[in-house]
Symmetry: C2
Subunit: 196 residues, 2 copies
Amino acid sequence: MEAELDELVQALRCLPGVGAKSARRMALHLLERDREGARRLSRAVDEAVARIGHCSVCRTLTSAETCSRCADPERDSRVVCVVESPGDVLAIESATDFGGRFHVLLGRLSPLDGIGPEELGLDRLEARLQAEGVEELILATNTSVEGEVTAHYLAEMAARHGIRTTRIAQGIPSGGELEYIDAGTLAHALSGRREY
Amino acid sequence: MEAELDELVQALRCLPGVGAKSARRMALHLLERDREGARRLSRAVDEAVARIGHCSVCRTLTSAETCSRCADPERDSRVVCVVESPGDVLAIESATDFGGRFHVLLGRLSPLDGIGPEELGLDRLEARLQAEGVEELILATNTSVEGEVTAHYLAEMAARHGIRTTRIAQGIPSGGELEYIDAGTLAHALSGRREY
């Protein structure tokens, strides 16, 4: 294969979910059918990599010093929702009308991988809790083992500051059928039942 | 969402098989976990778009005037394999030990879409047939309706020059089960049976 084509195929494989065959298909598509799209992609990647960093307040991805959400005075700074990644912020923003603030951990506590409170910069979150008059900390880490451990740690931290914590609900997903749901989820759904 | 991030997500959607969700996942992956890979991708796209054009002989993708296959004196120029796209060349090269020449149509005859012999540059293939002492033309267009029509047209063209034509075999794919094969394929497999 041509060196430039080969390099393009290899470079495309850094994208998540793209293997050798998809990368080849993508490379040929760009070169045969969408060179304008290819140029736009290259520019967009350059721009994004050069400009996008982390918000100095909540640590989500942004090209400014503080992200648009942290800079927005309309948002309720008494409620802070803690998530693991910038993608979680986008997911919550597009699915809900949550109007509070966010804090992005950029990871989760995972002692086996050497990720402790310092690596997650939890001192910055603690400083926010003290400085911003937070009244409720929503723990929206994933429901994986590490996510639960992280939520537990954050709850203890908030308790030391007398701040109320809530955890996103665990249960049957919308449209789910009980018969096919795993045992752990079903147990959570039953123990977490609410008045109807 | 940040403008640069939004633009990156939109730009990624030009890739085949990438929808809104995958594009967002890819953009976040590049920015959060693989900025070096992102830079490499951008460079590779730029290089490929700037340098790769079509071979002046066989029309496959190449960064040179003639591709490495057409420039290789070891290849048998008496056998020319006609395919629809550069991807087909790569597929045949990686799956077989074919040692002849290629000719890439960059499409197929499709009168309804206004694609006739001129649009496919079939005069260039005809010139090759006359000039290069071709003895066998392998018709390796797809087995779709348009691919068959194209193969038929090419066979007539080759016949005018007294050149033998062969068509790639149609039948049951390797590992296929007769019970689940479509009727057209099964009919082809039976009518195309060979001595065992």
